[in-house]
Chain length 592, copies 2
């Protein structure tokens, strides 16, 4: 099975074309400007000295590298001189400040030069990885190899320090990322040393290393081939899983593949929110234990959701099953998408599933912020969002000798080697998808979403198949209607409450539509939902009837004895919460 990338799959319309336009025209500039103001851009001059403002932080390289990578994805179809020049300027500065040995890192050049590669918790290889990813993307889009060569030199230096000389202060990094970046470098250069470096970093992880900090938080508690559950820092865990799946695919490593499968199952069956959010605890930004998915304090970092999609995308190449596309879709429309405001300028790092009344926030409890910010001190999420949306074409198709596999539904043109496949759809507004194919006869496999009930046709491993007779058209329809979803009772916190989904989109109630104390509301299931298109959202707003318990005075009364009044209820897509005013929000709502 081979991946089809954004390079040959161009989003032409619908929801994701809107998103890409928003990123391109607004978010990219907003993120760059905030990074400029906070000193992240200027830091690439490597002229900071003690006493100056904007002291660099050791993860700044990565923030800007992800922004640079975003530009690479964007300008392939939408040339933009301003963005391109900004990247070339940054590359100039990296080139100027790269050591003769190939080393480049802002922080360890200007702040702590004597501490190079001394502490696995200091994100040094993480920054290197993001620079490498940016360089690969830049080369793929522009064909210019200057940056790529610079980063090859850096990778060679890392090989020397970590593998040949073993002179670093640690063996494997505390924040994974270099691994999946080196896979990309291997893929683009064909240089086997790079995939061997990945194997080195994987194989040495968890073997009684000298750990600074908490070994489970950095996935160093066990050899990777024995890691069957998703543990520790959620973003790190997902980046590690990506590298494990990458190596499993390229090197035929069955034990790695098995561990990836177990870890994926653990996530989706025990540790994932209905939004696709993962990593429920702010303590260590981490996974905790099975079924520990609190709504109000859900950490569910935007980058972790992205990481889950990246992991699922790699699993799809190892094992053709619709469950991977289902998870990617869940992330795309919910737990990832909530990370960016509708105007494209502000971001959530954390994505809770409930916001309680402000006066009911208990002392001593850490609550997520309730208003998106333009930049964070640790601002990994905003540029991760820009690169993820700009390269979302990566997620649509894979191919093998049997045919073409469609995993996600976005209006697009896929230019194959000797065929063209156009997809026309307003998904997820409706479930109608039209494929227009020009090329040799083959088979089209189309994922039938896991949420879809009543699809007409045979489904195998989550996919329906259609013979393509040369130039051909295939129309598919997935009936979309609002459905009340129930959580496993193991998630005690959702017990007796339900989440409304319409297709892949999770809905929520907000205070600004439904009044204060949204927890007092219960939906009438039999009332049904009216779908109303509103300009703010691509998918319809849902209106229904329900009741509101009128009396907050009595704490405990016999069942169904609460006085209530009938009310109109409005649900909006979860990802769009906190875009109008700050206030309460609720995904899991009572249904009578």
């Amino acid at each position: 099975m081979k991946k089809v990338t954004y390079a040959s799959c161009h989003i032409t319309g619908g929801f994701w074309a809107n998103m890409q336009k928003l990123i391109r025209e607004t978010s990219m500039h907003a993120v760059y400007n905030r990074f400029d103001e906070t000193g992240r851009i200027g830091a690439f001059r490597c002229d900071w000295k003690e006493g100056m403002d904007n002291k660099p932080h050791y993860y700044w390289d990565s923030d800007v590298a992800k922004w640079m990578e975003s530009v690479a994805y964007i300008i392939r179809k939408y040339p933009n001189q301003e963005l391109e020049e900004a990247v070339e300027t940054l590359i100039d500065q990296i080139e100027k400040n790269q050591g003769a040995d190939g080393y480049f890192n802002i922080y360890f050049t200007v702040v702590m030069p004597e501490k190079r590669f001394s502490n696995r918790d200091w994100h040094e290889l993480y920054c290197a990885g993001h620079l490498i990813e940016a360089a690969v993307a830049w080369y793929e889009t522009t064909g210019r190899d200057r940056f790529l060569h610079m980063m090859c030199r850096y990778a060679d230096y890392i090989e020397k320090v970590f593998i040949i000389d073993g002179s670093a202060g640690y063996v494997t990094p505390g924040h994974e990322e270099i691994e999946l970046a080196l896979v990309k470098l291997y893929d683009v250069t064909g240089e086997k040393r790079y995939i061997k470096m990945v194997q080195f970093f994987l194989d040495h992880r968890g073997y009684n290393e000298k750990n600074e900090g908490d070994s489970i938080n950095i996935q160093a508690h066990k050899p990777v081939r024995e890691q069957y559950t998703a543990e520790g820092h959620a973003v790190r865990a997902m980046y590690l899983a990506c590298a494990m799946a990458d190596v499993a695919l390229r090197m035929g490593d069955k034990n790695l593949k098995f561990a990836c499968e177990k870890m994926f199952e653990n996530i989706i069956n025990q540790r994932m929110y209905i939004t696709g959010g993962i990593g429920s605890s702010a303590v260590g930004e981490a996974f905790t234990v099975d079924y520990d998915l609190p709504n109000i304090t859900a950490y569910t970092e935007t980058c972790a959701a992205i990481g889950l999609a990246l992991f699922a995308q790699r699993m799809m190449l190892l094992d053709m099953n619709g469950v991977y596309g289902d998870v990617i879709e869940k992330v795309l429309y919910n737990g990832f998408l909530s990370g960016i405001s509708l105007d494209g300028k502000a971001f959530f790092y954390e994505n809770p599933l409930e916001i309680p009344p402000a006066e009911q926030k208990a002392p001593g409890v850490r609550y997520p912020i309730t208003k998106r910010l333009e930049v964070f001190r640790c601002s990994c999420c905003p540029p991760n969002i820009t690169r993820f949306v700009s390269s979302v074409g990566d997620f649509l198709y894979t191919v093998d000798e049997k045919g073409i596999y469609c995993h996600q539904f976005m209006e697009s043109v896929y230019e194959g080697e000797n065929f063209t496949l156009m997809m026309k759809t307003d998904y997820p507004h409706s479930g109608k998808v039209r494929f227009d194919y020009r090329g040799q006869p083959t088979t089209l496999f189309v994922r039938v979403p896991g949420w879809c009930d009543g699809f007409q046709g045979e489904i195998k491993n989550g996919y329906a198949s259609f013979a393509l007779q040369g130039d051909d058209r295939v129309d598919v329809e997935f009936p979309i209607k609002p459905v009340c979803m129930e959580a496993s009772p193991a998630l005690g916190v959702d017990c007796g409450r339900y989440a409304v989904m319409r297709g892949p989109v999770v809905y929520c109630l907000e205070e600004c539509d439904n009044g204060k104390y949204v927890r007092d509301i219960a939906l009438y299931e039999s009332a049904g939902f009216t779908e109303i298109d509103e300009k703010d959202f691509y998918v319809p707003v849902l209106k229904t009837k329900g009741y509101r318990r009128a009396n907050r005075a009595a704490l405990y009364v016999p069942k169904d004895h609460y006085p209530y009044e009938e009310v109109d209820i409005t649900l909006i897509p979860y990802h769009a919460f906190a875009n109008r005013t700050e206030g309460e929000m609720l995904v899991w709502v009572q249904v009578k």
Copy 2:
């Protein structure tokens, strides 16, 4: 309205006679032996020196004083030479070690003599208060006034240091208790200086004192007459509230009364568990904000439940309303009673409303212990339980010029000044109560419990009234049947779940009856409940049908699509949880 105490109201049978027997024959010895082993008893010799074992703690006096007070309540009807001698020996030691100035405190005599009355957080006046309470009870039962005189000398010394000289390091204590003790001393001696001392401690609280620690935790954030919500350390808040109500009653202080009423309303309408437990957070053992009542991490200290009953008992004298008796009853049969094991030997300090599967306990979260202990490092609860049960006769009746008011239903003989009132009942096994009266014509007012639906007769302020024509008999029946109770939706955590109550008794599901994963269970409401008498419990076990969701694999499915199997379900009284094996427990359960 006048209180009728344990001294004239003797429990003769039924649930509370069993409890008093258990306390008398088992708990009193168990607590004494643990206190002896841990050095608390020996510490009264005041011969501890640095380097010796069992270094005294500054709250040890109070632990033993509550045990001594318990003996006073017990031996009035059940003479016991061993217990009586143990108390007299302790009094001997207190007498021997009491200062010429009247001071007595183990810790500040042997560990830090130079720090006497220097820090309001060190429980010094708290210990003094419990010694005074013990001395008052000892005098009332035995008529011997040695201990009482000793404690009057101590109170006089406290007056000198805190009020006359103002030479103490603080003005009002960090842990309230001295206040309500001095009220008792005033009541028994008639010495007005003692009630003035209480007024002093109340009046100066919250007026910009130099606070060590957190002023809201010790109720020093505001003047007491402006404290309209229950804040901070729950036990301290309740002891303060008791003193406020005591002074309001005795001195006709309307502003104090008003604050007490507001605080009481705040507790029962916003901050109390269905068990009568209060103080939801382990952080500061404290109240938090309205509607913050988590089940799994509920702190709900046993002493706080006792404190709430003591507060409600005082409110009853200020304002005749059934709500106070309702709360006392709720505490008696649930959140207090869970603090002691069925065998009388072990105790809970914390009383959670849910115990999750052990493997689902999240890291970084503090969970209550799941097995009662014989003694705690801070062992305030066990002797508080023994004195509370031994003096439970305090809660049955009050009298005024209109008649006799019955608030709690326990088989008993109340010997009035010129009448006898016998109560015959197996409450709360049934709701039948028979009163046999011998005396002059009067009126009997009987509280109709708030949980009671379908009582035949007129109810005023929660009481039904019966004219007593000289020697007379009154039969009352409160229909008792299992009822599913619903929580305010403001308590998000209970949303969609229900608590089964039968009369005043809250029920729960335990793993040892219902199998692992009790959260997977939902009751069929229409199945009804079968009541089965089992020897372990005074009230019946409830059996019903329900279903158990069979599949824990899928996290999210459409509503009512979970596969399930019908199961038999057993509910036992909440107070009896964790008496057979450790395991899961659930009060709030789904009902279909």
